[in-house]
């Protein structure tokens, strides 16, 4: 039977494609006033004060992720303990032995320098751990995903993939602590050179996956 009517094929123009993308972006909640924004946040939506290398002029950061702040507790606690050790020795030793603690084989000036050097070491331990956490960042824009792994002070790995190459997004959230503080690992599978992006210990992994899924327009799965 001959066709009665054949609807003309409508290919989306660039403007219409951009409108679809902008509509997808519109679902993201509005930002708070700048005064209330934390620069140490781990889950930031549309952080306009952040920029990254090789960012295009028309490219906006939609999602900014860091490891959950709870992951900083071990080294924060250790830094605090290390800071307190000389203080505790100075106060507790006299109570036990009745004398002031001194390093008998070292003159006083060496002890002062040793103490100052010790506190400088403790501060550096804290600072290096802080910048390791601070610069471990994952960024999602309307065009691509950028994953920055920073560790061991001198190692950093920047991986970038276009959103068009993202094939699947899923997350895992296992254990009591992760469930209680609502953070987990988001895994992004791509068709690019780097097959998967691992966004580890990010807050609200379900929401992060939802945002990325809406951007790529595909259904992912949760494990």
């Amino acid at each position: 039977m001959a066709d009665v009517f054949i609807a003309p094929k409508h290919t989306k123009t660039e403007t219409e494609k951009a409108e679809v993308k902008m509509n997808n972006i519109a679902f993201l909640p509005d930002l708070e006033d700048p005064d209330h924004i934390s620069h140490l946040g781990s889950f930031l939506v549309k952080p306009y004060w952040v920029s990254f290398q090789n960012q295009d002029d028309d490219e906006n950061i939609l999602l900014f992720l860091r490891p959950h702040v709870i992951t900083t507790l071990p080294w924060l606690f250790l830094s605090f303990v290390l800071f307190l050790i000389p203080v505790l020795i100075a106060y507790i030793y006299p109570l036990i032995s009745g004398t002031i603690f001194t390093i008998s084989f070292l003159p006083e000036n060496f002890t002062i320098i040793l103490l100052l050097f010790y506190y400088l070491l403790v501060f550096n331990y804290f600072f290096v751990n802080f910048i390791t956490w601070f610069f471990s960042i994952s960024i999602v824009t309307q065009k691509r995903i950028v994953d920055i792994d920073y560790s061991d002070l001198v190692y950093h790995d920047v991986a970038v993939t276009k959103l068009d190459l993202v094939e699947d997004v899923n997350y895992t959230q296992t254990g009591f602590i992760r469930s209680f503080f609502n953070y987990g690992d988001v895994f992004v599978q791509t068709a690019g050179e780097k097959l998967h992006f691992d966004l580890l210990a990010v807050p609200k992994p379900a929401k992060a996956v939802d945002i990325i899924q809406n951007l790529i327009g595909e259904a992912g799965h949760v494990s």
Binding site: W49, L116, L120, N124, I131
Partner: protein
């Protein structure tokens, strides 16, 4: 001709040797703090945040200055 060993004896004094060891350790530590400054600058170029980037850079430079100050203090009082 006789060799004067008095300078050698002075050099081998334990406290002087300990001072040199302290100064060497602090010097290596200054190199470490310089690496920290360099890495903070590198990472700030990769990701830049208003105010935070400047604050981190300032803390890293202050850290380096503290290490240098400690070296000078050790040189003076030890």
């Amino acid at each position: 001709m006789s060799v004067d060993f008095s300078n050698l004896t002075q050099f081998l004094q334990p406290l002087l040797a300990l001072k040199i060891v302290f100064l060497l350790i602090i010097a290596f530590f200054i190199v470490f703090t310089f690496v920290v400054v360099n890495q903070v600058n590198t990472m700030n170029k990769i990701v830049s945040e208003a105010h935070s980037s400047f604050t981190l850079k300032l803390i890293a430079i202050l850290n380096l200055l503290l290490a240098v100050s400690l070296f000078l203090l050790a040189l003076a009082i030890l």
